[in-house]
């Protein structure tokens, strides 16, 4: 009898044993930090050597929001987001439409277009930097092309702000395109071809087919890409480091995430409180934009209600 209940107890506990490893890892490295970062951000004057602080309040947030480095990082990140998200989404839609309209080479091109996804951001970033860089030996490949078309060469890596912004936008777009092309090509392929045939019989022009059938049918995926695109671009860091090196403040090209890491570590580091405050500000920005995006897409997709096939 006693044995029986013992067995029962063990059966009850067993599922938790299966979950234990995941809970330990996630608890220590995800859940606990979540609360901890909030506490850090409120501890004023935290000293990482002595692990002491002398007050609780919003000072860290005030400091970060007044820090010119943070404001410049904020500006850089916003420009990056506003340029790369629409451009990469639009461009990948065009490319996916093109891919879907051809038969020959389609598999080959899909493979090629996906390549940037599986490359090391830092490594290929170095190649981009060299292609754009102006050195005493050579103006760099891109500048030579600009000169060929009659333009004046620019130092993209250490030159004017807009030139640097151009490089980083181009590289970010190059990096994020594979994912978007992949998602959009499969979304386009999943539209029932019969719909186009029906529309063709009714004399629908190609443009109208695109705006009245294709676009509404794939709009949930486009919204998904815009949301993930926003989140990804707001967290830009590795690709910027790849082009401009670790000292992003010196290059004037820091991003919000870059600012967080700088506060944490390196020559300017040792301020986990400031880093935490900046991280939470980033989180709030991303959350706000995601919620706005979701609200817009809800409104749009309410007109899509019942849009799925049974």
């Amino acid at each position: 009898m006693e044995r029986e209940t013992d067995k029962m107890k063990r059966a009850d506990l067993k599922p938790f044993l299966y979950l234990l490893p995941a809970f330990v890892f996630l608890g220590i490295f995800m859940v606990y930090p979540l609360f901890d970062v909030l506490i850090y951000s409120l501890e004023e004057g935290y000293n990482s050597a002595s692990q002491t602080f002398h007050g609780v309040g919003l000072y860290n947030y005030r400091y970060v929001l007044r820090d010119p480095y943070f404001l410049s990082a904020l500006q850089n990140t916003f420009i990056l987001v506003i340029i790369t998200v629409p451009v990469s989404t639009g461009l990948s839609l065009l490319i996916s439409l093109g891919l879907n309209s051809i038969q020959k080479f389609r598999d080959f091109l899909q493979t090629v277009f996906f390549l940037p996804y599986v490359t090391n951001t830092l490594a290929v970033g170095l190649v981009f930097m060299i292609l754009f860089k102006k050195t005493p030996y050579s103006d760099g490949f891109v500048n030579l092309i600009i000169q060929f078309f009659g333009g004046r060469s620019v130092d993209f890596i250490e030159g004017p702000y807009w030139a640097k912004m151009t490089v980083i936008c181009l590289y970010t777009i190059w990096i994020v395109m594979p994912f978007k092309i992949l998602i959009l090509t499969s979304a386009l392929a999943s539209v029932d071809p019969m719909l186009y045939k029906a529309a063709q019989i009714d004399g629908t022009s190609r443009l109208r087919m695109f705006f009245r059938i294709t676009l509404p049918m794939i709009s949930p995926m486009i919204f998904y890409l815009i949301i993930t695109g926003f989140i990804g671009a707001f967290k830009a860091y590795s690709d910027v480091v790849a082009i401009f090196g670790v000292n992003l403040n010196a290059a004037g090209m820091n991003t919000i995430v870059g600012y967080i890491y700088d506060m944490l570590y390196g020559d300017s580091g040792g301020y986990p409180s400031f880093a935490s405050a900046a991280a939470l500000i980033l989180f709030v920005i991303v959350l706000t934009i995601t919620v706005i995006n979701l609200m817009v897409s809800r409104r749009n997709s309410s007109s899509l209600k019942g849009g799925s096939y049974e």
């Binding site: 019969m194 029906a198 019989i201 004399g203 109208r208």
Partner: protein, 368 residues
């Protein structure tokens, strides 16, 4: 509008690239569909009937041959210039649009002076919706409707621009059995009301026979027979047509004609005046034989199936091509069925086919 298909041929490159070459889906297809009729294009799946339909509406270009609507050659016209309405097998309704928007869609494509005002469009949309009796569901989305309702929307969308020709691809195949009966009556009614020349494709002979003015039988891209359903049933030109029409199917035996007499096995079963000597296939319709104690044609009984008014005798015979012979007798004769029932054959329900060409061999007066 009259539809004429003149030597219509469609060849596709072989799908399996390793084999290469071409597949002929439709082979020199000739047919004339009279104005205002409902015509069933009937054949086993993969016989090319959908390809014929696609060439009529212009979604596919024929490799050879012409398509005429009335006197006009429309072979080179794109679908939108042909004035056809089409209902697809899957209905192809736009899932993100309401019923109203779906039906209105074809009208919105018109440009310039052909463009209708909003009120005119709405009027036409409602007219089409009323015709198919879905005017109560105008603001639903396709996913919120039953299969039968979706089909009505698809028909309304095809009819709203007043096409000269209406084409339906397997219109009933996605419906359950109960809805099928109702829907085919509905298609007949709509066609009669509008008088639009209508062609529908099906692999279900019962469906085609029940509502068509004419049926066209095809197999492997070739037209086999065209005619009124009853005429084709009574007077098939070859073994394929005879076998494809009718439930239960025609019973086919190996037989031989000697001196204008038909033998199945050793039994001399029927006089066939005018038929030449040689091996034949004998097709006996289930209703083409009558139970008679001293009849010339003996079978071995397997069992009987009771249908109520009629009874089916399920039996076997060494010369039979297939599993079981099925013959229909009136139920009051059921008690007379012995273990070796004997039948007398009725010439009207017995067809002979050349053993080699499978073409029909005509004989006597009873079997024209």
């Amino acid at each position: 509008m009259k539809i004429v298909l003149d030597n219509l041929t469609k060849r596709f490159p072989n799908r399996n690239r390793k084999i290469g070459g071409e597949v002929t889906a439709v082979d020199h297809f000739n047919v004339e569909i009279p104005d205002g009729e409902l015509v069933g294009l009937l054949g086993p799946s993969g016989c090319g009937k959908s390809t014929v339909l696609n060439m009529i509406c212009g979604l596919e270009k024929p490799t050879e041959g012409r398509v005429f609507f009335g006197e006009e050659d429309v072979t080179d016209l794109s679908p939108e210039n042909r004035g056809v309405g089409m209902v697809f097998q899957s209905y192809a309704l736009y899932p993100h649009m309401t019923v109203r928007e779906n039906i209105r869609f074809p009208l919105e494509n018109r440009k310039g002076k052909d463009r209708l005002s909003k009120e005119e469009m709405e009027e036409k949309v409602m007219e089409a919706a009323k015709l198919v009796q879905i005017d109560q569901l105008m603001d639903r989305k396709p996913a919120e409707m039953s299969g039968g309702q979706q089909q009505r929307v698809a028909i309304a969308r095809a009819l709203v621009k007043r096409p000269g020709v209406l084409l339906l691809d397997e219109p009933l195949s996605n419906l359950d059995a109960r809805l099928r009966l109702a829907t085919r009556e509905e298609i007949r009614r709509i066609q009669t009301e509008t008088g639009i020349t209508t062609v529908f494709v099906t692999h279900d002979q019962e469906e085609a026979m029940s509502i068509s003015d004419h049926i066209i039988l095809m197999k492997e891209g070739v037209r086999h027979q065209v005619g009124k359903p009853q005429d084709v049933y009574d007077d098939p030109v070859n073994l394929f047509v005879a076998q494809f029409l009718g439930t239960p199917a025609i019973n086919v035996f190996q037989g031989e004609v000697k001196n204008e007499e038909l033998f199945i096995g050793k039994d001399r079963v029927l006089d066939v005046p005018g038929a030449g000597d040689g091996d034949v296939f004998v097709g006996i319709r289930p209703e083409g034989a009558a139970l008679q104690a001293d009849g010339p044609f003996a079978l071995k009984l397997d069992h009987v199936e009771v249908l109520g008014r009629d009874t089916i005798v399920v039996a076997s015979h060494p010369s039979f091509q297939g599993e079981n012979v099925r013959l229909i007798i009136p139920s009051e004769q059921r008690e007379e069925v012995s273990d070796t029932p004997r039948f007398v054959l009725k010439p009207r329900g017995v067809h002979l086919f050349d053993a080699k060409t499978q073409e029909r061999i005509r004989y006597g007066k009873g079997n024209r």
